[in-house]
Subunit: 259 residues, 2 copies
């Protein structure tokens, strides 16, 4: 079956459509080749958490909403994969909260930045940083192009949301004293371990729920959520859930196939 | 760090080099875009089994060697990813055993077949099928181009080795009465569940060990191995191993990061 012929009733339709969109994104100069490999890793881990927002993720998303609610200078980092997978949801969240988005790329080229910015602008994004060369500064301690940041954004931020991230960056940002929220489907990645809040969930499910949680908070409730949050507990729960889903799934598949 | 600058001492050097080679393989018309996503899924699952050949995989590889040893018409399927990841090892095994390789592609184009065949011919591959249109026949029950097979190869084979596979094909081949050996890093994939022998291991570790096991067999020993082999037991062991590695890894990473 060609990828263009996927009926919407196909049990894997959403997953196949995401693949298709990302492959097209490579051809359009938005997604890096290695973004496809990264997406594959994400697919595998999403499968392991049952392709749903589990309780451990919901709790982390609530904490992320609270941290952003209380932050003085929050920022959300954007790359090629996010620009394909959930640009509308990111724009809605950014526009409704005033929290800016910043294009920040590992495989940085001028045309990729431009292509990504175009997507967000066409969706009506009001607060998009990382596209104006005059605002660029470089962070210390980074080997990659990730070091080039916007001085109004990641540079001075106290809270940084880094979806689909490389481990080096998260560790560096934390070392600089910033709080980092990551959305990473692998609960054992360096990013997941280093982050202040780790949302083990698919980014396409993350932003709609973040939006909902954020707008239902007030200052007192947000402080309470942060006080009660322990990322280590959340990561452990994610691992326990994966281990138990894993066994369930095997039993189910076996009985289907060998009946 | 650019992917070209990976020092061989880098702890992820092999993994990063494979990524690099596959991305180049896309540019060279050998690997399908979706092959990169599939590789990413493989990376995630390889990580979960500790990036090594575990006992459950070694047992399955021994059984695969025995099945091939006893087969009347064995065949090994080749695609773009295998042509990049382990063409030398596949050629060595094929040449030393007389078991042919057959190019069989999901995203089939004449130029991809040609580019893949070129790689194997340049390595001295003596038994390469799937490139001669006059030998093509179509199998029933396949929606994809996988249905186009070589009548001297997959068509009449009793044992088919399908590395890095789509689930549809494996199920169909089994339904046709063929024995299928798969090398699949996801022990819960449809392919893994449907196959006669499932090697949960990275293909780059598979062929050297298959070579070694095959050449140490005789008929009596091969029959004994097959008699004692239970794929369901092997899959369960792989799952148990993953679950326990999973917990170990978390404890290790946490103590490193929070010391």
């Amino acid at each position: 079956m060609g990828i263009e012929d996927i009926p919407s009733t196909h049990p894997r339709a959403q997953s196949l459509n995401m693949r298709h969109a990302l492959i097209q994104g490579v051809k359009d100069g938005i997604v890096a080749d290695s973004g496809l490999i990264a997406h594959g890793r994400g697919e595998a881990f999403d499968y392991l958490i049952g392709e749903r927002t589990n309780k451990f993720a919901e709790d982390a998303i609530e904490a992320a909403a609270a941290l952003l609610f209380l932050a003085k200078k929050p920022i959300i980092s954007v790359n090629g994969n996010t620009a394909i997978l959930c640009p509308k949801e990111m724009t809605e969240f950014s526009n409704s909260t005033g929290i800016p988005l910043e294009v920040n790329l590992f495989y940085r080229t001028g045309s990729r930045i431009e292509n990504i910015a175009k997507i967000f602008h066409s969706l009506g994004s009001k607060y998009l940083l990382g596209t104006d060369e005059r605002q660029q500064v470089e962070l210390d301690g980074f080997d990659s192009y990730r070091r080039i940041v916007d001085k109004r954004g990641i540079y001075q931020a106290d809270v940084v949301v880094v979806p689909l991230e490389d481990g080096d960056r998260t560790e560096n940002l934390v070392r600089m004293g910033k709080k980092v929220v990551t959305i990473d489907l692998n609960p054992l990645s360096r990013t997941s371990i280093a982050a202040s809040i780790t949302v083990v969930d698919n980014i396409i499910r993350f932003f709609p729920l973040l939006q909902e949680k954020y707008h239902s908070l007030d200052k007192e409730r947000a402080e309470q959520v942060i006080d009660n949050y322990d990322n280590k507990v959340i990561l452990r729960k994610s691992l326990e859930t994966i281990a138990s889903l894993w066994k369930e799934e095997l039993d189910k598949k076996y009985s289907m196939f060998h009946s």
